[in-house]
Protein backbone atom coordinates (compact mmCIF):
# COMPACT_ATOMS: atom_id res chain seq x y z
CA UNK A 1 0.00 0.00 0.00
CA UNK A 2 1.21 3.47 -0.91
CA UNK A 3 0.97 6.37 1.52
CA UNK A 4 1.44 10.03 0.61
CA UNK A 5 1.49 12.18 3.69
CA UNK A 6 2.19 15.78 4.71
CA UNK A 7 4.44 16.21 7.73
CA UNK A 8 3.19 18.24 10.67
CA UNK A 9 5.64 19.16 13.40
CA UNK A 10 9.41 19.05 13.68
CA UNK A 11 10.28 15.99 15.72
CA UNK A 12 12.11 14.63 12.66
CA UNK A 13 13.96 17.90 12.04
CA UNK A 14 16.25 18.44 10.15
CA UNK A 15 15.49 15.37 8.03
CA UNK A 16 11.79 16.12 7.72
CA UNK A 17 10.26 19.50 8.34
CA UNK A 18 6.78 20.72 8.92
CA UNK A 19 5.04 20.97 5.54
CA UNK A 20 7.25 18.45 3.75
CA UNK A 21 5.65 15.52 1.95
CA UNK A 22 6.66 11.88 2.05
CA UNK A 23 5.84 8.83 0.02
CA UNK A 24 5.92 5.55 1.86
CA UNK A 25 5.24 1.96 0.93
CA UNK A 26 4.15 -0.95 3.05
CA UNK A 27 6.89 -3.57 3.27
CA UNK A 28 6.85 -7.20 4.19
CA UNK A 29 7.82 -8.23 7.68
CA UNK A 30 11.57 -8.44 7.96
CA UNK A 31 12.12 -5.67 5.44
CA UNK A 32 12.24 -2.89 7.98
CA UNK A 33 15.76 -2.05 9.03
CA UNK A 34 17.45 0.07 11.64
CA UNK A 35 17.64 3.63 10.34
CA UNK A 36 14.50 3.40 8.18
CA UNK A 37 12.01 6.24 8.42
CA UNK A 38 8.63 4.69 8.94
CA UNK A 39 4.97 5.57 9.32
CA UNK A 40 3.67 4.09 12.53
CA UNK A 41 0.22 3.62 13.97
CA UNK A 42 1.29 4.17 17.54
CA UNK A 43 -1.05 3.15 20.38
CA UNK A 44 -0.40 6.40 22.24
CA UNK A 45 0.69 8.93 19.63
CA UNK A 46 -1.51 7.72 16.73
CA UNK A 47 -0.12 8.19 13.21
CA UNK A 48 3.47 9.31 13.51
CA UNK A 49 6.61 9.31 11.43
CA UNK A 50 9.80 8.21 13.17
CA UNK A 51 13.10 6.50 12.54
CA UNK A 52 13.75 2.91 13.61
CA UNK A 53 16.42 3.23 16.24
CA UNK A 54 16.89 -0.45 16.87
CA UNK A 55 15.26 -3.86 16.64
CA UNK A 56 15.55 -5.90 19.80
CA UNK A 57 16.04 -9.64 20.20
CA UNK A 58 12.27 -10.13 20.43
CA UNK A 59 11.80 -8.52 17.03
CA UNK A 60 10.27 -5.38 18.55
CA UNK A 61 11.07 -2.01 17.04
CA UNK A 62 12.31 0.97 19.04
CA UNK A 63 11.71 4.35 17.48
CA UNK A 64 13.42 7.69 17.68
CA UNK A 65 12.99 11.15 16.27
CA UNK A 66 15.80 12.99 14.53
CA UNK A 67 14.87 16.26 16.21
CA UNK A 68 15.87 17.23 19.70
CA UNK A 69 12.21 17.92 20.41
CA UNK A 70 11.20 14.32 19.87
CA UNK A 71 9.86 12.22 22.66
CA UNK A 72 12.38 9.61 23.74
CA UNK A 73 12.54 6.07 22.50
CA UNK A 74 11.72 4.79 25.97
CA UNK A 75 8.62 6.94 26.20
CA UNK A 76 7.38 5.67 22.84
CA UNK A 77 8.08 2.12 23.90
CA UNK A 78 8.56 -0.87 21.63
CA UNK A 79 6.18 -1.52 18.75
CA UNK A 80 5.61 -4.59 16.67
CA UNK A 81 5.83 -4.90 12.89
CA UNK A 82 2.05 -4.76 12.46
CA UNK A 83 2.08 -1.22 13.84
CA UNK A 84 4.50 -0.09 11.15
CA UNK A 85 2.37 1.04 8.23
CA UNK A 86 5.05 1.80 5.68
CA UNK A 87 8.61 2.82 4.99
CA UNK A 88 9.43 6.20 3.52
CA UNK A 89 11.06 6.04 0.11
CA UNK A 90 10.64 9.58 -1.21
CA UNK A 91 10.85 12.88 0.58
CA UNK A 92 9.54 16.03 -1.06
CA UNK A 93 10.60 19.31 0.44
CA UNK A 94 10.93 22.92 -0.72
CA UNK A 95 14.16 23.73 -2.50
CA UNK A 96 15.48 25.81 0.37
CA UNK A 97 15.02 22.89 2.77
CA UNK A 98 17.38 20.63 0.91
CA UNK A 99 20.49 19.86 2.90
Amino acid sequence: MLYIRRITGNSMYPTLRDGDYIWALRRLRGHYRQGDIVLVDHPKYAKIVKRIQSIDSNGLFWLTGDGIESVSSTEMGPINHRQILAKMFWHICPKDHKQ
Binding site: R5, T8, G9, Y21, A46, V49, V71
Partner: protein
Amino acid sequence: MIHQITKAIDSVFGIKTVSAHCDVPCGIYDPSTMQVAALSVIRFIDQINELDGKELTLADHAKLARLVAEKETHAAKVKEEVRIVWGDYFKAAQFEACPGTNELVHSIMLAGSKCKQTIDRAAGEELLKLVNEFAVSFWKTKGVETFTATCPYPPALDVVYPKLG
Protein backbone atom coordinates in the same frame (compact mmCIF):
# COMPACT_ATOMS: atom_id res chain seq x y z
CA MET B 1 9.08 22.44 -8.09
CA ILE B 2 7.85 18.97 -7.09
CA HIS B 3 7.04 20.30 -3.65
CA GLN B 4 5.01 23.14 -5.18
CA ILE B 5 3.10 20.70 -7.38
CA THR B 6 2.45 18.39 -4.43
CA LYS B 7 1.36 21.35 -2.33
CA ALA B 8 -1.06 22.42 -5.04
CA ILE B 9 -2.47 18.90 -5.22
CA ASP B 10 -2.71 18.92 -1.43
CA SER B 11 -4.64 22.19 -1.42
CA VAL B 12 -7.17 20.73 -3.86
CA PHE B 13 -7.48 17.13 -2.70
CA GLY B 14 -6.19 17.34 0.87
CA ILE B 15 -3.32 14.94 1.51
CA LYS B 16 -3.54 13.31 4.91
CA THR B 17 -1.04 14.34 7.52
CA VAL B 18 1.33 12.32 9.65
CA SER B 19 2.57 13.72 12.90
CA ALA B 20 6.14 14.60 13.62
CA HIS B 21 5.11 16.85 16.43
CA CYS B 22 7.54 17.34 19.22
CA ASP B 23 5.37 14.91 21.21
CA VAL B 24 6.92 16.25 24.34
CA PRO B 25 4.37 17.68 26.71
CA CYS B 26 5.96 20.98 27.67
CA GLY B 27 5.02 20.26 31.26
CA ILE B 28 3.84 23.82 31.78
CA TYR B 29 0.33 23.61 33.14
CA ASP B 30 -1.29 26.26 35.26
CA PRO B 31 -4.98 26.77 35.98
CA SER B 32 -4.51 30.54 36.21
CA THR B 33 -5.19 30.85 32.48
CA MET B 34 -8.63 29.27 32.82
CA GLN B 35 -9.38 31.29 35.96
CA VAL B 36 -8.57 34.57 34.22
CA ALA B 37 -10.69 33.52 31.26
CA ALA B 38 -13.62 32.70 33.58
CA LEU B 39 -13.26 36.07 35.33
CA SER B 40 -13.23 37.74 31.92
CA VAL B 41 -16.49 36.03 31.02
CA ILE B 42 -18.12 37.50 34.13
CA ARG B 43 -16.63 40.91 33.43
CA PHE B 44 -18.01 40.87 29.90
CA ILE B 45 -21.43 39.79 31.19
CA ASP B 46 -21.36 42.71 33.64
CA GLN B 47 -20.44 45.16 30.91
CA ILE B 48 -23.13 43.79 28.62
CA ASN B 49 -25.71 44.17 31.37
CA GLU B 50 -24.60 47.75 32.00
CA LEU B 51 -25.96 48.56 28.56
CA ASP B 52 -29.38 47.20 29.47
CA GLY B 53 -32.15 49.81 29.39
CA LYS B 54 -29.90 52.35 27.74
CA GLU B 55 -30.76 53.95 24.44
CA LEU B 56 -27.89 52.55 22.43
CA THR B 57 -25.85 54.68 20.09
CA LEU B 58 -24.00 53.25 17.16
CA ALA B 59 -20.88 53.20 19.32
CA ASP B 60 -22.79 51.27 22.00
CA HIS B 61 -23.91 48.73 19.40
CA ALA B 62 -20.32 48.29 18.31
CA LYS B 63 -19.25 47.87 21.93
CA LEU B 64 -22.02 45.36 22.58
CA ALA B 65 -20.98 43.32 19.57
CA ARG B 66 -17.39 43.23 20.84
CA LEU B 67 -18.43 42.33 24.38
CA VAL B 68 -20.59 39.45 23.21
CA ALA B 69 -17.86 38.16 20.93
CA GLU B 70 -15.23 38.36 23.67
CA LYS B 71 -17.52 36.71 26.21
CA GLU B 72 -17.96 33.75 23.93
CA THR B 73 -14.28 33.61 23.03
CA HIS B 74 -13.28 33.52 26.68
CA ALA B 75 -15.93 30.94 27.58
CA ALA B 76 -14.49 28.76 24.82
CA LYS B 77 -11.00 29.47 26.15
CA VAL B 78 -11.96 28.19 29.60
CA LYS B 79 -13.11 24.95 28.01
CA GLU B 80 -9.96 24.67 25.92
CA GLU B 81 -7.59 25.34 28.83
CA VAL B 82 -9.36 22.84 31.07
CA ARG B 83 -9.42 20.28 28.30
CA ILE B 84 -5.64 20.56 27.85
CA VAL B 85 -4.83 20.13 31.53
CA TRP B 86 -7.34 17.32 31.90
CA GLY B 87 -6.32 15.58 28.68
CA ASP B 88 -2.57 16.07 28.75
CA TYR B 89 -1.62 16.39 32.39
CA PHE B 90 -4.08 14.25 34.31
CA LYS B 91 -3.12 10.61 34.31
CA ALA B 92 -3.92 7.66 36.57
CA ALA B 93 -2.06 9.07 39.57
CA GLN B 94 -3.83 12.45 39.33
CA PHE B 95 -7.24 10.85 38.84
CA GLU B 96 -6.58 8.71 41.87
CA ALA B 97 -5.62 11.76 43.93
CA CYS B 98 -8.66 13.69 42.72
CA PRO B 99 -11.60 11.36 42.19
CA GLY B 100 -14.50 13.14 40.55
CA THR B 101 -12.26 15.07 38.16
CA ASN B 102 -13.99 13.68 35.07
CA GLU B 103 -17.39 14.77 36.34
CA LEU B 104 -16.00 18.16 37.31
CA VAL B 105 -14.47 18.67 33.87
CA HIS B 106 -17.73 17.70 32.22
CA SER B 107 -19.55 20.21 34.41
CA ILE B 108 -17.08 22.89 33.33
CA MET B 109 -17.73 22.06 29.68
CA LEU B 110 -21.47 22.47 30.23
CA ALA B 111 -21.04 25.65 32.27
CA GLY B 112 -18.74 27.10 29.61
CA SER B 113 -21.31 26.44 26.93
CA LYS B 114 -24.04 27.98 29.04
CA CYS B 115 -21.98 31.15 29.38
CA LYS B 116 -21.87 31.38 25.61
CA GLN B 117 -25.65 31.10 25.44
CA THR B 118 -26.60 33.56 28.15
CA ILE B 119 -25.82 36.91 29.75
CA ASP B 120 -26.87 35.63 33.16
CA ARG B 121 -24.15 36.53 35.67
CA ALA B 122 -25.00 33.46 37.75
CA ALA B 123 -23.85 31.28 34.86
CA GLY B 124 -20.50 33.03 34.86
CA GLU B 125 -20.16 32.71 38.61
CA GLU B 126 -20.94 29.01 38.39
CA LEU B 127 -18.23 28.63 35.75
CA LEU B 128 -15.70 30.39 37.98
CA LYS B 129 -16.71 28.26 40.98
CA LEU B 130 -16.13 25.05 39.01
CA VAL B 131 -12.84 26.30 37.59
CA ASN B 132 -11.70 27.17 41.10
CA GLU B 133 -12.54 23.62 42.17
CA PHE B 134 -10.48 22.36 39.27
CA ALA B 135 -7.61 24.61 40.36
CA VAL B 136 -7.76 23.14 43.88
CA SER B 137 -7.53 19.64 42.40
CA PHE B 138 -4.70 20.61 40.09
CA TRP B 139 -2.59 22.13 42.86
CA LYS B 140 -3.36 19.16 45.10
CA THR B 141 -1.75 16.88 42.52
CA LYS B 142 1.32 19.11 42.71
CA GLY B 143 1.37 18.92 46.50
CA VAL B 144 0.79 22.67 46.65
CA GLU B 145 -1.61 24.18 49.15
CA THR B 146 -4.09 26.76 47.99
CA PHE B 147 -5.90 29.73 49.44
CA THR B 148 -8.85 31.76 48.28
CA ALA B 149 -8.67 35.52 47.87
CA THR B 150 -10.65 38.17 46.07
CA CYS B 151 -8.95 39.08 42.83
CA PRO B 152 -7.73 42.70 42.97
CA TYR B 153 -9.55 43.80 39.83
CA PRO B 154 -13.08 43.66 38.46
CA PRO B 155 -15.17 41.56 38.85
CA ALA B 156 -13.48 41.22 42.28
CA LEU B 157 -14.55 37.66 42.95
CA ASP B 158 -12.99 34.83 44.91
CA VAL B 159 -10.19 33.02 43.13
CA VAL B 160 -8.12 30.04 44.26
CA TYR B 161 -4.39 30.76 44.30
CA PRO B 162 -1.44 28.45 45.02
CA LYS B 163 0.63 29.03 48.15
CA LEU B 164 4.06 29.23 46.59
CA GLY B 165 7.27 30.14 48.30
